[in-house]
Symmetry: C2
Subunit: 321 residues, 2 copies
Amino acid sequence: MPMPSLGAGREFDRIRAVLAALGDVVADAGDDCAFIPPGLGVIALSTDTSVEGVHFRREWLSLEEIGWRAAAGALSDLAAVAAEPIGVLAALVLPDDLGEPETVRLMRGIGDATASVGGKVLGGDLSSGPVLAIGITVIGSCVSPVRRTGAAVGDSLWVTGSLGGACAALLSLQAGALPAPAARAVFARPAPRIHAARWLADRGARAMIDLSDGLAGDAGHLAAASGVRLRIDIGGLPVHPDLVSRVARTGESAVALAAMGGEDYELLVAMPSGFGESDAGEHLHSTGVPLTRIGVVEAGLGVDLTEGGVSVSLRSFDHFT
Amino acid sequence: MPMPSLGAGREFDRIRAVLAALGDVVADAGDDCAFIPPGLGVIALSTDTSVEGVHFRREWLSLEEIGWRAAAGALSDLAAVAAEPIGVLAALVLPDDLGEPETVRLMRGIGDATASVGGKVLGGDLSSGPVLAIGITVIGSCVSPVRRTGAAVGDSLWVTGSLGGACAALLSLQAGALPAPAARAVFARPAPRIHAARWLADRGARAMIDLSDGLAGDAGHLAAASGVRLRIDIGGLPVHPDLVSRVARTGESAVALAAMGGEDYELLVAMPSGFGESDAGEHLHSTGVPLTRIGVVEAGLGVDLTEGGVSVSLRSFDHFT
């Protein structure tokens, strides 16, 4: 990108340093707005904030990882509607101890996550403040988004990847232990399921949501939006192996934790009844991401979680409880 | 708008309360993304964050005003490129003492500011955190944006409205005094100059920027982006009358403060040489906003501020000094 011309000031020096470090990941900069040309179809937008002490601790992650994780969590909302990323706007609130090098490291993580799914950093905002907070707005395009509203009775329910990896890492970190490497990778550098979502949309996905707050809670939003009942056998969840190992000694239920744990950023999707295991095999082959059947869509309302045929009640993550 | 169907949880109860209070100001909600239909031309985007203790203090403003001011400051970036607002995404970080009623009041202010310029609340995010912060992303459309880059030698420089009203209010508030009502209104409920910007764009505006950090600093960005020198006679600035009264006793220079003070959200615009005082009169008649000629565009680089023919040096607001 052409280096934009900005006037004097330390805030603008810092912006210049970020732009120099990010190079081609920045699309265009230096005006009051970023611009998206016409002709890209429906534009999808979402915003998400990560706050130090709430969503992450600085001692758990590098600044690059904090930036990646904030961006990936927001980009996951584009996956949830099967949109192609165009880019992100990044608003950083920076405490006094984070100077220019630290700002560059945060923005590099944001830029890397965005570039990993083909997007650009389109703009942003730097502000001072008492605590590190990262606001990411994602912008994507789609011909026809997959909404939460289209699940119909008889559809099958599937999840991408595995659940509980982020939870396993968090349990270790909260206990002051080093997480297992694979679980740590899920927690520190989650992969937005953009490619998988596009694949599923092309195969007729009826309704989709990303699991940011955990399956137990997010399934409820999809059920409510579609006006259906989701029956999910948590015994069949693809539990992350590091979560299984982590709870082996404590006797906690790995499947229950996998269903409650948020921030895996996998997708829950309702597929039409003709979609089956051979299609899931094709999905794995094409995207590298497993797809596991976990339930069915029934008449009614809400979510019925069962384990071995018995109903179970699980809570989900809530910012205000 | 149809009330979206969301699952259980206090966070979602709070979202439901906001949606019920805002009514038709919310365009659509309840999915992972907001959507903008195709065919609206170039999409303009910008993001801006307001942080308690940095951009505002709660004891100075009502929660509705804090919301309005945050949204208006961000919407001003759409004015700066002469875009028509489509809407906003609002990301709130809420400390524990701000519950559901307070969230509704903040969002009502954001909704009112957005509706005042014809936009909708398209989506948002609620998070907890140690300090109130409001991240606003604005989305607009335009056929051909007015950039910072187009100022040419011989253009005349104009500002909308008056400068220093927000500064006058801030000086009073910082001194523990009640601001004059008109100055307080500029500070608490600034008006994004959307209509004026569209009018100026239709009359051939070459380059434009909004004065969020103050004329002294923002003029430098326009000069740098256009590769020109701006000669501005600050003696001719349209100083807000409450700033003149405020400094009458202290001997401070009202024009200097008006040139340095940010957050008036007026526009600085370079117009082609044929544009003159009679056009400014038409602007006032059509938009209700005065337009004052303050300088010219010359060959060179940077900004030359003069008062009575003598060069003056003024600093601008900087988040990191």
